[in-house]
Symmetry: C2
Subunit: 405 residues, 2 copies
Amino acid sequence: MNSLEIPFNKPFITGNELEYIKDAVEYGHISGNGKYTKLTQQFFERQFGFDKCLLTTSCTDALEMCAILLDIQPGDEVIMPSYTFVSTANAFELRGATIRFADSRPDHPGIDERSISPLINKKTKAIVVVHYAGVATDMDLIMNLADEHGLYVIEDAAQSINSYYTHGDGSVSPLGSIGHLGTFSFHETKNIMAGEGGMLVINEPEFIDRAEVIWEKGTNRTAFFRGEVDKYGWVDIGSSFLPSELNAAFLYAQLSNLIRIQQKRMAIWNKYHKALEETCIRLSISQPVIPDFATNNGHMYYLVCKTPEQRTNLITHLRELGIHSVFHYQSLHASDYFKLKHDGRNLLNADSYSDRLVRLPFYYELTTEDQDLIITAINKFGGRRQSLFRKDWTEPIVNSHAAVG
Amino acid sequence: MNSLEIPFNKPFITGNELEYIKDAVEYGHISGNGKYTKLTQQFFERQFGFDKCLLTTSCTDALEMCAILLDIQPGDEVIMPSYTFVSTANAFELRGATIRFADSRPDHPGIDERSISPLINKKTKAIVVVHYAGVATDMDLIMNLADEHGLYVIEDAAQSINSYYTHGDGSVSPLGSIGHLGTFSFHETKNIMAGEGGMLVINEPEFIDRAEVIWEKGTNRTAFFRGEVDKYGWVDIGSSFLPSELNAAFLYAQLSNLIRIQQKRMAIWNKYHKALEETCIRLSISQPVIPDFATNNGHMYYLVCKTPEQRTNLITHLRELGIHSVFHYQSLHASDYFKLKHDGRNLLNADSYSDRLVRLPFYYELTTEDQDLIITAINKFGGRRQSLFRKDWTEPIVNSHAAVG
């Protein structure tokens, strides 16, 4: 990439990352579960009140730990949105689950809470919700449904650090703390990064002991180091889910600057939202909607174009100006891997987000000048080229310009 | 740990680790499969002639990739040594395999090649060998057996970087390049480290395309970036097997000093071996044996005590002097997880190594002074304490002091 171009994402160093890595080496421990892993887990437990946190090598791995913890067996059914990252599904597919994909909300790419009930049957074991863009799923609806049917709930909170849900009774919970289990990502595209990395949050105390075993390759090594057993050995299935201290040290340095990072990201988000409003109305492009029960954590800024072609034209227009915007997920129910397993239901909103959603450059070090260039470029979009190529497309998504809640 | 104490292991920085990590951030890519991942994979492909290498977050994950690649299904049988790390077994257990554990050699903790044949039946799908301490299994015997029965061979070469096998015809192959698949570890206890890390080596071209998909979470993302497909999506099961560039950058810096590291480690190994010879004869302790067909890569220095009690006394004696020696694996067939699944065969050599093997401090920065202290301490061992507590133990392992081949 040309150095004059504006990338979609850019990792960054907040200050102490390399110093902490050096310290981990000097401390004599750079494999997993050392000083920085413990500091990071404690940070999350104290800051967000999570019962128990375990760092993992990725959010994928945290989801795989969930599938093992829930003892998912062939034939068990798991409900999740189709518009999500492939790992949400793979983690359960690897344990033999039958996945039942649900559609997205009309106003938001997250799971349509009201579409879940008809998918529940005797084989259903869990619901996985994905808080898309860090914006909450309506968790009261989900938890009530789960209670009613005796299901487990997993929050795929990959994008949801420092974001919250307001319950019907007015109380507020951080995302990842509401379901029985929650998972986070620290991939380089996330607000806080470890290169690759993730975390499992365990809100159901009954899972804690076994989670520690699964995390440590199916051994009771953690209990051994606490002096609870004389020697450790193989006691369960498991994997090498714990990340290196190199990653944990990098992550902890970033986490120490969480407030500063969040302030900057919210400023970027709000600037996009305000500055693009008129153009979006003019071009029938939808801006993000934050429901009343949700907060915004400035994870990403996306637009939902009127048509797939408009999106292609917008991405091309920006690329010609050296600006890298990207689309996001492809509906998993329609993927090469899954389409023959899918039960045939139309998931039109999921497909529509696959075809029409575009993400704008968004990272901590995005300068005011570069963001101004992006905004100007978008505001100039929508001239001749687009009208030349416009076709009619089915548009199941209600166009919405609701303000940020 | 007191700074005057001698640890069992100690991670180290060779020179460019932090600089390369900083470079990865500035380069704008710290998630997986970036510049340093590619450099590391190329290094192994060029230096050791491996067909195709894929870095992973751990050797565990590389073994899990093997199990997926071989399409292991419930009921398939996999043969492996009982004296190995739990991940060797877990990777196949997670896919539903039935594990058939084999015993260790009398003269070496590696799998007893001659004990495998009776374990093979119609359900057998693969043999996993573990080159313990970087010392080769007799691969001609293994590959012939595999050919005869149509089995796959996986080399768990976790400890085997820069180690070789001499075939019956005199030709020499690096470990990891002989079986259909090979796996390496870059855990902090290994010769070359990434904190946590591993690598899959694919020697069977038919596996390469699918391995890239499984590695990238079951998507054809790698083919997409090569321009082979228009967009990428979910095409297979998979996981997030690729490590962060933070780990790859650290690893590549170490790899650039492979020769220097190996020279130092071999010097440490040879010094232990020579300086402890007399004491080992006096106390009936076995020193490591390197068969004629194998090389030594200076991965670890271990002793096999005459009795479990002698080992306990030796470890205690050293600990009292501030020296941290450790035992190693516990036989997996006798583990809490597996003992009820085991078919009841006695695996006496595996049990014996579990009970009697001890590893001495071994790391790149071990100073001459500290190694002298360790050697002196061991050479003073074996006085009153031991004779007071000695009991008789079954000793299936032939005591051996064969010289290094």
